[in-house]
């Protein structure tokens, strides 16, 4: 491809357009990445938070109902108390189990998954402790057995409460983690955009400088040649600086100067011949 001025300008501006497109691409990438992170934060972080809170509520409800069963058993009778309180407590435990499984599925990292899995383990222990406490609350059990069973039931309840709290903290951590991710992405994108803008600026400046030089240097040279020829100085050489339109113009100048030089030489020779012929005839 011949590097004409038009092609040079097209290449220069095309390059700048490409650079602008790259910077715009980074901007679009950053915005879409940030939007994605924000959506993830909203979806996963908020869901884990709400699951953790729900687990806490169900846990408190399960323990309240189990305690009511033990307290109301004598007044309502075993069957009624079981139907009114214990079955409800078991239902709450199953709810906690299903919520903990959902949280394990949603959790974005192994650490968070492990925290929600611990709820499941604590829940299992709580169920066993509840069964033991229920069995111990039946008639003919020694006071020691009842006391031990209730103590281990309380401990399991406390452990379940603590692991549920850990889950809630993990939910907060996940939300925080995504916030950090958004922060990192936005900082990285800003850095990239600034970097590319600086590179773009430097490239734009150097391209403009190179383009201006490519056009101005041969034009200045031709102006100098034209000025010399117009003042009668034909002993000036015309240089072709480039193979573009200005290069073609230099060739034309060169031809013109050569022709003028030749015609002047011819005229001088003719004048000398005439002078010598005149001198000879005298």
């Amino acid at each position: 491809m011949k590097m004409t001025i038009t092609n040079k300008l097209l290449l220069g501006f095309g390059g700048l357009l490409l650079l602008t497109a790259v910077i715009a691409g980074i901007g679009i990438y950053a915005v879409s990445n940030l939007r994605h992170s924000a959506q993830e934060t909203t979806r996963i972080g908020a869901r884990l938070n709400s699951i953790s809170v729900e687990i806490q509520v169900h846990n408190l409800e399960a323990q309240r109902k189990a305690t009511s069963y033990f307290l109301q058993k004598a007044a309502l009778g075993e069957e009624n108390a079981r139907a009114t309180y214990l079955d409800e407590a078991t239902f709450e435990v199953h709810e906690i189990q299903s919520l903990a499984s959902k949280a394990v599925q949603l959790a974005p990292s192994p650490e968070v998954k492990a925290k929600f899995k611990r709820i499941d383990t604590a829940l299992h222990e709580y169920e066993q402790a509840l069964d033991k406490a229920v069995a111990a609350s039946q008639p003919n059990q020694s006071a020691k057995e009842v006391q031990d069973a209730m103590a281990s039931y309380d401990a399991a309840g406390e452990s379940l409460h603590e692991t549920a709290e850990d889950g809630e903290i993990a939910g907060h951590d996940v939300a925080q983690q995504f916030q950090d991710e958004i922060e990192r992405t936005s900082k990285r994108s800003v850095g990239l955009a600034i970097g590319f803008s600086i590179v773009g600026l430097v490239l734009a400046l150097s391209t403009s400088f190179a383009l201006a030089r490519a056009i101005l240097v041969p034009v200045r040279h031709l102006r100098e040649v034209a000025e010399n020829v117009s003042l009668g100085n034909l002993d000036i050489s015309v240089h072709r600086h480039s193979s573009d339109e200005i290069g073609d113009l230099a060739d034309s100048f060169q031809r013109m100067v050569t022709a003028v030089k030749f015609f002047r030489m011819e005229a001088e020779t003719a004048q000398a011949d005439a002078a010598s012929a005149g001198g000879g005839s005298r």
Binding site: S237, D251, S252, Q254, R255, M256, T258, A259, K261, F262, F263, M265, E266
Partner: protein, 72 residues
């Protein structure tokens, strides 16, 4: 088209409006009428062209002109 005209066409990008007059002068130096110039004369004509052209243009240009004419 005569050989002389062909040589003139090749010299025109170097000599412009002075081409015909310049080439006529070289034929005179070669002592051959322009109408009688043949391909066999071209190498000698090109040498005269280079010698005269180096007075009015760069040596490199003159050499290039010589080669162009000699190539026929």
């Amino acid at each position: 088209m005569s050989v002389f005209s062909q040589a003139c066409d090749k010299a025109r990008p170097f000599l412009g409006p002075a081409t015909e007059k310049f080439m006529e002068r070289q034929c005179k130096l070669l002592k051959v009428d322009q109408a009688e110039i043949t391909k066999e004369h071209l190498v000698k004509l090109a040498w005269y062209v280079k010698s005269s052209a180096s007075l009015i243009m760069d040596a490199a240009q003159a050499e290039k002109l010589e080669k162009t004419i000699a190539a026929g």
